[in-house]
């Protein structure tokens, strides 16, 4: 049996495929191009080239200190498995307070104590991040509390309405229909 037996002429589609398959496969190289705009947008966001986050909330005064706060994504909270819905916030400390502030915390509602001040911001003072759990039963008039702790032991707090901090979260809460 010869190795070079002529194949039986198949259907038109089969002949077309056999003739052009290698050329067509080159088109697969174009597939990544479709993902590139999102990839570069994300890369710029995480590197900080497009600012602190997708939506800047603005400067928040916390006692003698202040910080710039932003939503990483201008969108509703994302479900993080069994831990519930989470929302990412970024913050940058003011020029004069970078040396003085030891820790910055974020919480929905007024913290009961410094120990229960909420989630902690981590990262460099120029660009810190925190992942805040958003309980599904959060009220629409809830407030976002920022607690800052200094190296000297001082503690300062400030709050902003959730509607100002994240309109997308508020819209999501309203859509949930106010769980009890």
């Amino acid at each position: 049996m010869s190795l070079f037996t002529a194949e039986k002429p198949g259907s038109r589609l089969s002949r077309f495929w056999h003739k052009w398959r290698f050329h067509i496969n080159v088109l697969l190289l174009l597939v990544p191009l479709g993902f590139m705009p999102k990839y570069f947008a994300d890369a710029a966001l995480f590197r900080g080239d497009t600012g602190l986050g997708e939506r800047e909330i603005g400067e928040v005064q916390v006692g003698p200190w202040s910080l710039r706060l932003a939503e990483l994504r201008n969108e509703a909270p994302r479900l993080d498995g069994p831990a519930g819905y989470m929302k990412n916030f970024n913050a940058a400390l003011c020029d004069s307070c970078r040396e003085q502030v030891k820790a910055t915390y974020l919480r929905i509602g007024k913290p009961r104590s410094l120990r229960a001040a909420g989630v902690i911001f981590f990262g460099t003072p120029y660009r810190m991040g925190a992942m805040l759990p958003i309980p599904e039963k959060t009220q629409a008039d809830a407030e976002l509390w920022i607690t800052m702790e200094g190296w000297d032991g001082a503690m300062h707090q400030a709050s902003i309405p959730l509607s100002q901090a994240s309109p997308a979260t508020l819209e999501w809460l309203n859509k949930q229909g106010g769980k009890p």
């Binding site: 089969s14 495929w17 056999h18 398959r21 597939v31 993902f35 993080d80 498995g81 069994p82 831990a83 989470m86 820790a103 915390y105 009961r112 104590s113 120990r115 229960a116 001040a117 909420g118 989630v119 902690i120 911001f121 981590f122 925190a130 992942m131 759990p133």
Partner: protein
């Protein structure tokens, strides 16, 4: 052997490449329930599926006095007697890694 182009594996491969999202964070989690009229059992853990043996879990009164200072056992659970005063449970895995559970959120048996 068939040389036909099989679209399904190709599409699956593309989806795998595109949606290999990062879920690296592990957030603290805690769940408390009343096992009978007197006792409350709390289970701690992290959202990546790991347990929390030895992590501090305090029962704190509304007046900030610590009613039951505790640590989770080897099975990441702690059972304590329900205090008479109003209280909340604080699962404390370190600064900024806490979960608070108010007494109102503890399910009855």
């Amino acid at each position: 052997m068939s040389n036909a182009f099989r679209p399904l594996p190709a599409v699956l491969l593309m989806l795998c490449a595109g949606f290999s999202a990062s879920a690296l964070a592990h957030n603290p989690m805690c769940e408390c329930k009343a096992i009978d009229a007197e006792q409350i059992q709390c289970t701690g853990g992290f959202s990546d599926g790991s347990g929390a043996p030895g992590v501090t879990l305090d029962v704190i009164g509304y007046d900030e006095t610590i009613l039951v200072p505790g640590k989770l056992g080897a099975d990441s659970k702690l059972t304590f007697k329900k205090p008479n005063a109003e209280f909340y449970v604080l699962f404390d895995a370190g600064p900024g890694h806490v979960v608070e559970i108010d007494q109102a959120d503890i399910q009855a048996p």
